[in-house]
Protein backbone atom coordinates (compact mmCIF):
# COMPACT_ATOMS: atom_id res chain seq x y z
CA UNK A 1 0.00 0.00 0.00
CA UNK A 2 1.58 3.23 -1.07
CA UNK A 3 1.57 6.30 1.13
CA UNK A 4 -0.80 9.16 0.52
CA UNK A 5 0.33 11.60 -2.15
CA UNK A 6 1.99 14.76 -0.87
CA UNK A 7 2.86 17.97 -2.69
CA UNK A 8 6.47 16.78 -2.67
CA UNK A 9 5.67 13.44 -4.27
CA UNK A 10 3.53 15.20 -6.87
CA UNK A 11 6.34 17.60 -7.61
CA UNK A 12 8.60 14.63 -8.23
CA UNK A 13 6.07 13.29 -10.71
CA UNK A 14 5.89 16.69 -12.40
CA UNK A 15 9.67 16.72 -12.68
CA UNK A 16 9.32 13.80 -15.12
CA UNK A 17 7.39 15.94 -17.60
CA UNK A 18 9.58 17.62 -20.13
CA UNK A 19 8.78 20.76 -22.03
CA UNK A 20 7.44 19.96 -25.51
CA UNK A 21 10.36 21.72 -27.21
CA UNK A 22 13.24 21.71 -24.78
CA UNK A 23 14.55 18.58 -23.11
CA UNK A 24 14.24 19.95 -19.60
CA UNK A 25 11.45 19.36 -17.13
CA UNK A 26 8.66 21.83 -16.54
CA UNK A 27 9.79 22.00 -12.92
CA UNK A 28 13.35 22.95 -13.90
CA UNK A 29 11.96 25.40 -16.41
CA UNK A 30 10.26 27.16 -13.51
CA UNK A 31 6.70 26.75 -14.73
CA UNK A 32 5.33 25.03 -11.62
CA UNK A 33 4.32 27.67 -9.10
CA UNK A 34 2.45 25.62 -6.54
CA UNK A 35 1.19 22.11 -5.81
CA UNK A 36 -1.50 21.25 -3.32
CA UNK A 37 -3.40 18.08 -2.48
CA UNK A 38 -6.84 17.97 -1.02
CA UNK A 39 -8.12 14.45 -0.49
CA UNK A 40 -7.76 12.87 -3.93
CA UNK A 41 -7.59 16.15 -5.86
CA UNK A 42 -4.26 17.59 -6.94
CA UNK A 43 -4.09 21.25 -7.86
CA UNK A 44 -1.13 22.53 -9.82
CA UNK A 45 -0.51 26.21 -10.24
CA UNK A 46 1.39 26.95 -13.36
CA UNK A 47 2.82 29.91 -15.25
CA UNK A 48 3.82 29.68 -18.89
CA UNK A 49 6.89 31.23 -20.48
CA UNK A 50 4.66 33.35 -22.63
CA UNK A 51 0.92 33.99 -22.77
CA UNK A 52 1.06 33.11 -26.45
CA UNK A 53 2.87 29.82 -25.87
CA UNK A 54 1.62 27.28 -28.44
CA UNK A 55 2.42 24.31 -26.18
CA UNK A 56 -0.02 25.10 -23.38
CA UNK A 57 -2.56 22.39 -24.19
CA UNK A 58 0.20 19.80 -24.44
CA UNK A 59 1.71 20.78 -21.11
CA UNK A 60 -1.63 20.85 -19.31
CA UNK A 61 -2.57 17.42 -20.64
CA UNK A 62 0.84 16.04 -19.74
CA UNK A 63 0.33 17.24 -16.17
CA UNK A 64 -3.16 15.80 -15.92
CA UNK A 65 -2.10 12.46 -17.34
CA UNK A 66 0.99 12.12 -15.20
CA UNK A 67 -0.66 13.05 -11.93
CA UNK A 68 -3.63 10.76 -12.54
CA UNK A 69 -1.10 7.93 -12.59
CA UNK A 70 -0.14 8.77 -9.00
CA UNK A 71 -1.93 6.35 -6.65
CA UNK A 72 -4.51 8.19 -4.59
CA UNK A 73 -5.10 10.98 -7.13
CA UNK A 74 -8.28 10.84 -9.16
CA UNK A 75 -8.75 14.49 -10.01
CA UNK A 76 -6.24 17.02 -11.30
CA UNK A 77 -6.81 20.73 -11.61
CA UNK A 78 -4.32 22.82 -13.51
CA UNK A 79 -4.69 26.46 -12.65
CA UNK A 80 -2.85 29.05 -14.70
CA UNK A 81 -1.48 31.86 -12.60
CA UNK A 82 -0.65 34.82 -14.73
CA UNK A 83 2.68 35.50 -13.16
CA UNK A 84 5.56 36.64 -15.26
CA UNK A 85 8.15 34.06 -16.27
CA UNK A 86 11.76 35.07 -16.79
CA UNK A 87 14.99 33.22 -17.46
CA UNK A 88 15.88 33.54 -13.80
CA UNK A 89 13.07 31.07 -13.06
CA UNK A 90 15.09 28.27 -14.70
CA UNK A 91 16.81 26.04 -12.15
CA UNK A 92 20.59 25.45 -12.25
CA UNK A 93 19.92 21.91 -13.52
CA UNK A 94 17.64 23.30 -16.17
CA UNK A 95 20.24 25.80 -17.31
CA UNK A 96 22.78 23.01 -17.53
CA UNK A 97 20.40 21.01 -19.73
CA UNK A 98 19.77 23.97 -21.98
CA UNK A 99 23.47 24.72 -22.29
CA UNK A 100 24.06 21.15 -23.38
CA UNK A 101 21.80 21.61 -26.39
CA UNK A 102 23.26 25.02 -27.03
CA UNK A 103 20.31 27.29 -26.28
CA UNK A 104 21.39 28.88 -23.02
Amino acid sequence: MSSRPTPESLREALAEISDPEYPISIVDLGLVRGVTVHESTATVQIAFCSLGCPCIELIVEDIEQRLLEVPGIDRVEVEEVFERWTRSDISPDGLKGLRQIGVA
Binding site: E21, G52, C53, P54, E57, L58, I101
Partner: protein
Protein backbone atom coordinates in the same frame (compact mmCIF):
# COMPACT_ATOMS: atom_id res chain seq x y z
CA UNK B 1 37.43 25.52 -57.21
CA UNK B 2 37.46 23.77 -60.58
CA UNK B 3 33.85 23.52 -61.61
CA UNK B 4 34.32 20.62 -63.98
CA UNK B 5 36.14 18.29 -61.62
CA UNK B 6 34.50 16.61 -58.65
CA UNK B 7 37.71 15.16 -57.23
CA UNK B 8 38.48 17.98 -54.85
CA UNK B 9 34.97 18.32 -53.43
CA UNK B 10 34.56 14.56 -53.10
CA UNK B 11 37.89 14.32 -51.28
CA UNK B 12 36.84 17.03 -48.90
CA UNK B 13 33.54 15.33 -48.14
CA UNK B 14 35.21 11.92 -48.00
CA UNK B 15 37.53 13.26 -45.32
CA UNK B 16 34.46 14.17 -43.28
CA UNK B 17 34.98 17.89 -43.73
CA UNK B 18 32.03 20.18 -44.07
CA UNK B 19 31.60 22.61 -46.91
CA UNK B 20 31.44 25.91 -45.05
CA UNK B 21 31.01 28.37 -47.88
CA UNK B 22 29.47 28.12 -51.34
CA UNK B 23 32.82 28.92 -52.94
CA UNK B 24 34.34 25.85 -51.28
CA UNK B 25 32.24 23.69 -53.59
CA UNK B 26 31.97 23.31 -57.33
CA UNK B 27 29.07 24.13 -59.58
CA UNK B 28 27.62 20.62 -59.60
CA UNK B 29 27.59 20.54 -55.81
CA UNK B 30 26.01 23.96 -55.59
CA UNK B 31 23.31 23.03 -58.10
CA UNK B 32 22.53 19.84 -56.19
CA UNK B 33 22.43 21.75 -52.94
CA UNK B 34 20.12 24.37 -54.43
CA UNK B 35 17.68 21.73 -55.65
CA UNK B 36 17.61 20.11 -52.22
CA UNK B 37 17.14 23.45 -50.46
CA UNK B 38 14.34 24.53 -52.79
CA UNK B 39 12.41 21.33 -52.12
CA UNK B 40 12.92 21.78 -48.39
CA UNK B 41 12.00 25.48 -48.35
CA UNK B 42 8.96 25.02 -50.57
CA UNK B 43 7.69 22.13 -48.46
CA UNK B 44 7.92 24.12 -45.24
CA UNK B 45 6.38 27.17 -46.88
CA UNK B 46 3.39 25.47 -48.49
CA UNK B 47 2.45 23.82 -45.22
CA UNK B 48 1.52 27.31 -43.92
CA UNK B 49 -1.55 27.92 -46.13
CA UNK B 50 -2.51 24.29 -45.85
CA UNK B 51 -2.42 24.28 -42.04
CA UNK B 52 -3.95 27.75 -41.74
CA UNK B 53 -6.95 26.73 -43.77
CA UNK B 54 -7.48 23.61 -41.67
CA UNK B 55 -6.91 25.52 -38.41
CA UNK B 56 -10.31 27.13 -38.89
CA UNK B 57 -11.68 23.82 -37.58
CA UNK B 58 -9.76 24.07 -34.30
CA UNK B 59 -11.99 22.96 -31.43
CA UNK B 60 -10.74 25.66 -29.04
CA UNK B 61 -8.82 28.89 -29.26
CA UNK B 62 -5.86 27.28 -27.52
CA UNK B 63 -5.73 24.57 -30.21
CA UNK B 64 -5.82 27.32 -32.81
CA UNK B 65 -2.87 29.03 -31.09
CA UNK B 66 -0.96 25.74 -31.26
CA UNK B 67 -1.46 25.56 -35.01
CA UNK B 68 -0.46 29.19 -35.51
CA UNK B 69 2.68 28.35 -33.51
CA UNK B 70 3.35 25.42 -35.80
CA UNK B 71 2.83 27.63 -38.86
CA UNK B 72 5.24 30.18 -37.44
CA UNK B 73 7.85 27.43 -37.06
CA UNK B 74 7.30 26.19 -40.61
CA UNK B 75 7.67 29.70 -42.00
CA UNK B 76 10.85 30.09 -39.98
CA UNK B 77 12.21 26.83 -41.39
CA UNK B 78 11.36 27.95 -44.91
CA UNK B 79 13.14 31.20 -44.21
CA UNK B 80 16.28 29.32 -43.19
CA UNK B 81 16.32 27.34 -46.44
CA UNK B 82 15.66 30.41 -48.59
CA UNK B 83 18.32 32.44 -46.79
CA UNK B 84 20.87 29.79 -47.64
CA UNK B 85 19.66 29.86 -51.23
CA UNK B 86 20.21 33.61 -51.27
CA UNK B 87 23.76 33.04 -50.10
CA UNK B 88 24.11 30.68 -53.05
CA UNK B 89 23.17 33.51 -55.38
CA UNK B 90 19.50 32.68 -55.91
CA UNK B 91 17.01 35.56 -56.23
CA UNK B 92 14.77 34.30 -53.44
CA UNK B 93 12.21 37.08 -53.80
CA UNK B 94 11.53 35.91 -57.32
CA UNK B 95 11.67 32.32 -56.15
CA UNK B 96 8.99 32.78 -53.51
CA UNK B 97 6.79 35.48 -54.99
CA UNK B 98 7.06 35.15 -58.73
CA UNK B 99 7.07 31.44 -59.47
CA UNK B 100 3.92 29.94 -60.90
CA UNK B 101 2.06 27.56 -58.57
CA UNK B 102 3.02 24.45 -60.53
CA UNK B 103 6.70 25.42 -60.38
CA UNK B 104 6.85 24.93 -56.62
CA UNK B 105 8.72 21.82 -55.56
CA UNK B 106 6.82 20.62 -52.49
CA UNK B 107 5.38 17.13 -52.38
CA UNK B 108 2.04 16.50 -54.04
CA UNK B 109 0.59 15.68 -50.60
CA UNK B 110 0.45 19.38 -49.72
CA UNK B 111 -1.59 20.11 -52.82
CA UNK B 112 -4.45 18.09 -51.39
CA UNK B 113 -6.32 20.36 -48.97
CA UNK B 114 -6.82 19.42 -45.33
CA UNK B 115 -10.48 19.89 -44.58
CA UNK B 116 -10.99 19.00 -40.95
CA UNK B 117 -9.27 19.11 -37.60
CA UNK B 118 -8.76 15.36 -37.94
CA UNK B 119 -6.89 15.78 -41.19
CA UNK B 120 -4.81 18.58 -39.74
CA UNK B 121 -3.60 16.57 -36.75
CA UNK B 122 -2.88 13.56 -38.95
CA UNK B 123 -0.80 15.90 -41.12
CA UNK B 124 1.16 16.90 -38.01
CA UNK B 125 1.67 13.26 -37.11
CA UNK B 126 2.39 11.97 -40.65
CA UNK B 127 3.66 14.84 -42.82
CA UNK B 128 5.67 16.53 -40.09
CA UNK B 129 7.06 13.10 -39.24
CA UNK B 130 8.15 12.73 -42.86
CA UNK B 131 9.71 16.18 -42.68
CA UNK B 132 11.39 15.18 -39.45
CA UNK B 133 12.79 11.97 -40.99
CA UNK B 134 14.09 13.82 -44.05
CA UNK B 135 15.59 16.70 -42.10
CA UNK B 136 17.13 14.44 -39.46
CA UNK B 137 18.85 12.61 -42.28
CA UNK B 138 20.14 15.88 -43.66
CA UNK B 139 21.14 17.02 -40.18
CA UNK B 140 23.16 13.84 -39.66
CA UNK B 141 24.64 13.54 -43.11
CA UNK B 142 24.76 16.87 -44.83
CA UNK B 143 28.16 18.03 -45.95
CA UNK B 144 26.95 21.65 -45.99
CA UNK B 145 27.96 23.24 -42.67
CA UNK B 146 25.53 26.18 -42.59
CA UNK B 147 22.56 23.85 -43.07
CA UNK B 148 23.72 21.40 -40.43
CA UNK B 149 23.90 24.13 -37.82
CA UNK B 150 20.53 25.62 -38.75
CA UNK B 151 18.82 22.27 -38.42
CA UNK B 152 19.35 21.98 -34.65
CA UNK B 153 16.44 24.37 -34.11
CA UNK B 154 14.34 22.85 -36.87
CA UNK B 155 14.64 19.39 -35.38
CA UNK B 156 13.48 20.58 -31.97
CA UNK B 157 10.49 22.42 -33.34
CA UNK B 158 9.39 19.54 -35.54
CA UNK B 159 9.37 17.41 -32.39
CA UNK B 160 6.67 19.67 -30.99
CA UNK B 161 4.62 19.39 -34.20
CA UNK B 162 4.86 15.64 -34.10
CA UNK B 163 3.81 15.53 -30.46
CA UNK B 164 0.91 17.82 -31.22
CA UNK B 165 -0.25 15.48 -33.97
CA UNK B 166 0.20 12.34 -31.92
CA UNK B 167 -1.50 13.78 -28.86
CA UNK B 168 -4.55 14.77 -30.82
CA UNK B 169 -4.69 11.51 -32.75
CA UNK B 170 -4.60 9.64 -29.46
CA UNK B 171 -7.41 11.79 -28.07
CA UNK B 172 -9.59 11.43 -31.17
CA UNK B 173 -8.93 7.69 -31.41
CA UNK B 174 -10.16 7.22 -27.85
CA UNK B 175 -13.49 8.88 -28.65
CA UNK B 176 -15.92 6.52 -30.43
CA UNK B 177 -17.63 9.48 -32.09
CA UNK B 178 -14.40 10.86 -33.51
CA UNK B 179 -12.51 7.70 -34.34
CA UNK B 180 -14.21 6.96 -37.69
CA UNK B 181 -13.30 10.40 -39.06
CA UNK B 182 -9.77 9.98 -37.80
CA UNK B 183 -9.52 6.57 -39.49
CA UNK B 184 -10.90 8.16 -42.66
CA UNK B 185 -8.16 10.78 -42.63
CA UNK B 186 -5.49 8.15 -41.98
CA UNK B 187 -6.79 6.01 -44.84
CA UNK B 188 -5.79 8.53 -47.48
CA UNK B 189 -2.99 10.34 -45.69
CA UNK B 190 -0.93 7.26 -44.76
CA UNK B 191 -0.48 6.20 -48.37
CA UNK B 192 0.00 9.84 -49.37
CA UNK B 193 2.98 10.06 -47.03
CA UNK B 194 4.41 6.77 -48.27
CA UNK B 195 4.36 8.24 -51.74
CA UNK B 196 6.07 11.43 -50.47
CA UNK B 197 9.40 9.59 -50.14
CA UNK B 198 9.44 9.14 -53.87
CA UNK B 199 10.60 6.54 -56.32
CA UNK B 200 11.84 3.25 -54.92
CA UNK B 201 15.59 2.71 -55.00
CA UNK B 202 15.35 0.23 -57.87
CA UNK B 203 14.08 3.05 -60.10
CA UNK B 204 15.99 6.00 -58.69
CA UNK B 205 19.64 6.86 -58.95
CA UNK B 206 20.66 9.02 -56.03
CA UNK B 207 24.11 9.63 -57.53
CA UNK B 208 25.08 13.20 -56.72
CA UNK B 209 22.82 13.61 -53.71
CA UNK B 210 24.48 10.73 -51.86
CA UNK B 211 28.06 11.16 -53.05
CA UNK B 212 28.00 14.89 -52.38
CA UNK B 213 26.66 14.21 -48.93
CA UNK B 214 23.45 16.14 -49.47
CA UNK B 215 21.53 13.27 -48.00
CA UNK B 216 22.55 10.07 -46.23
CA UNK B 217 19.77 7.56 -46.76
CA UNK B 218 18.02 6.38 -49.90
CA UNK B 219 14.31 6.88 -50.58
CA UNK B 220 13.45 3.36 -49.47
CA UNK B 221 15.54 3.67 -46.32
CA UNK B 222 13.82 6.95 -45.44
CA UNK B 223 10.40 5.42 -46.11
CA UNK B 224 11.30 2.56 -43.78
CA UNK B 225 12.39 4.99 -41.12
CA UNK B 226 9.06 6.77 -41.30
CA UNK B 227 7.17 3.48 -41.16
CA UNK B 228 9.32 2.42 -38.23
CA UNK B 229 7.77 4.99 -35.90
CA UNK B 230 4.48 5.71 -37.64
CA UNK B 231 3.11 2.17 -37.80
CA UNK B 232 3.75 1.30 -34.13
CA UNK B 233 2.19 4.60 -33.10
CA UNK B 234 -0.98 3.99 -35.13
CA UNK B 235 -1.21 0.43 -33.85
CA UNK B 236 -0.85 1.69 -30.27
CA UNK B 237 -3.95 3.86 -30.60
CA UNK B 238 -6.02 1.25 -32.46
CA UNK B 239 -5.88 2.91 -35.87
CA UNK B 240 -5.51 0.62 -38.89
CA UNK B 241 -2.78 1.24 -41.43
CA UNK B 242 -1.95 -0.81 -44.52
CA UNK B 243 1.55 -1.82 -43.41
CA UNK B 244 3.04 -4.24 -40.93
CA UNK B 245 6.39 -5.18 -39.48
CA UNK B 246 7.97 -8.34 -40.85
CA UNK B 247 10.15 -9.85 -38.12
CA UNK B 248 12.03 -12.08 -40.64
CA UNK B 249 13.49 -9.16 -42.54
CA UNK B 250 12.98 -6.59 -39.79
CA UNK B 251 11.39 -4.26 -42.30
CA UNK B 252 7.94 -2.85 -42.83
CA UNK B 253 5.84 -4.32 -45.58
CA UNK B 254 3.17 -2.29 -47.36
CA UNK B 255 -0.09 -4.24 -47.45
CA UNK B 256 -1.86 -2.49 -50.30
CA UNK B 257 -1.27 -1.85 -53.97
CA UNK B 258 1.48 0.77 -54.04
CA UNK B 259 1.77 3.10 -55.80
CA UNK B 260 -1.81 3.49 -56.83
CA UNK B 261 -4.13 6.03 -58.39
CA UNK B 262 -5.68 8.74 -56.23
CA UNK B 263 -9.16 10.18 -56.64
CA UNK B 264 -8.65 13.84 -55.73
CA UNK B 265 -12.34 14.65 -55.41
CA UNK B 266 -13.13 11.74 -53.13
CA UNK B 267 -9.71 11.81 -51.44
CA UNK B 268 -9.54 8.06 -51.89
CA UNK B 269 -6.92 5.68 -53.25
CA UNK B 270 -8.29 3.47 -56.00
CA UNK B 271 -6.79 0.37 -54.43
CA UNK B 272 -9.35 -1.86 -56.11
CA UNK B 273 -7.75 -0.99 -59.47
CA UNK B 274 -4.44 -2.42 -58.30
CA UNK B 275 -0.97 -0.89 -58.46
CA UNK B 276 0.13 1.58 -61.11
CA UNK B 277 3.55 2.47 -62.46
CA UNK B 278 5.64 5.25 -60.90
CA UNK B 279 5.57 6.98 -64.30
CA UNK B 280 1.85 7.46 -63.78
CA UNK B 281 2.47 8.87 -60.32
CA UNK B 282 4.95 11.32 -61.78
CA UNK B 283 2.29 12.49 -64.25
CA UNK B 284 -0.08 13.26 -61.36
CA UNK B 285 2.67 15.00 -59.39
CA UNK B 286 3.60 17.13 -62.37
CA UNK B 287 -0.03 18.08 -62.92
CA UNK B 288 -0.08 19.17 -59.25
CA UNK B 289 -3.02 18.74 -56.89
CA UNK B 290 -6.34 20.50 -56.36
CA UNK B 291 -5.24 23.22 -53.90
CA UNK B 292 -1.86 23.98 -55.50
CA UNK B 293 -2.98 27.17 -57.14
CA UNK B 294 -5.01 28.43 -54.15
CA UNK B 295 -2.18 27.84 -51.68
CA UNK B 296 0.58 29.41 -53.75
CA UNK B 297 -1.58 32.40 -54.69
CA UNK B 298 -2.47 33.01 -51.05
CA UNK B 299 1.22 33.00 -50.11
CA UNK B 300 1.96 35.53 -52.82
CA UNK B 301 -1.12 37.72 -52.27
CA UNK B 302 0.37 40.55 -50.20
CA UNK B 303 3.42 40.87 -52.39
CA UNK B 304 1.37 40.92 -55.57
CA UNK B 305 -0.81 43.65 -54.15
CA UNK B 306 2.26 45.79 -53.47
CA UNK B 307 3.55 45.13 -56.95
CA UNK B 308 0.19 46.19 -58.39
CA UNK B 309 0.35 49.41 -56.38
CA UNK B 310 3.68 50.11 -58.08
CA UNK B 311 1.71 49.84 -61.30
Amino acid sequence: MDDTDDTEILERIGAGKLVERPEHANERYREGLKRTLIVSGDTELISAPSYLRAAQHAPRIQSYISVIGIIQDELGHAHIAYRMLRDLGVDTDALIYERKPHEFCHPYAFDVPLESWHELVVANAFYDRAGFVLLSDIFQHTSYGPWKRALVKVDREETFHLRHGERWMRTLAADPDEKPSLQGAVDWMFIMTLEWFGLPDRLKRHGDQLSFGLKGLSNDELRQKWLGTCVPFCESIGIDVPAHHDPETDTYVIDCPFPSEFDEDEKRWLLEDGPIEWDQVLVRWKRRGPANEEFVRSLQAGRRELADALG
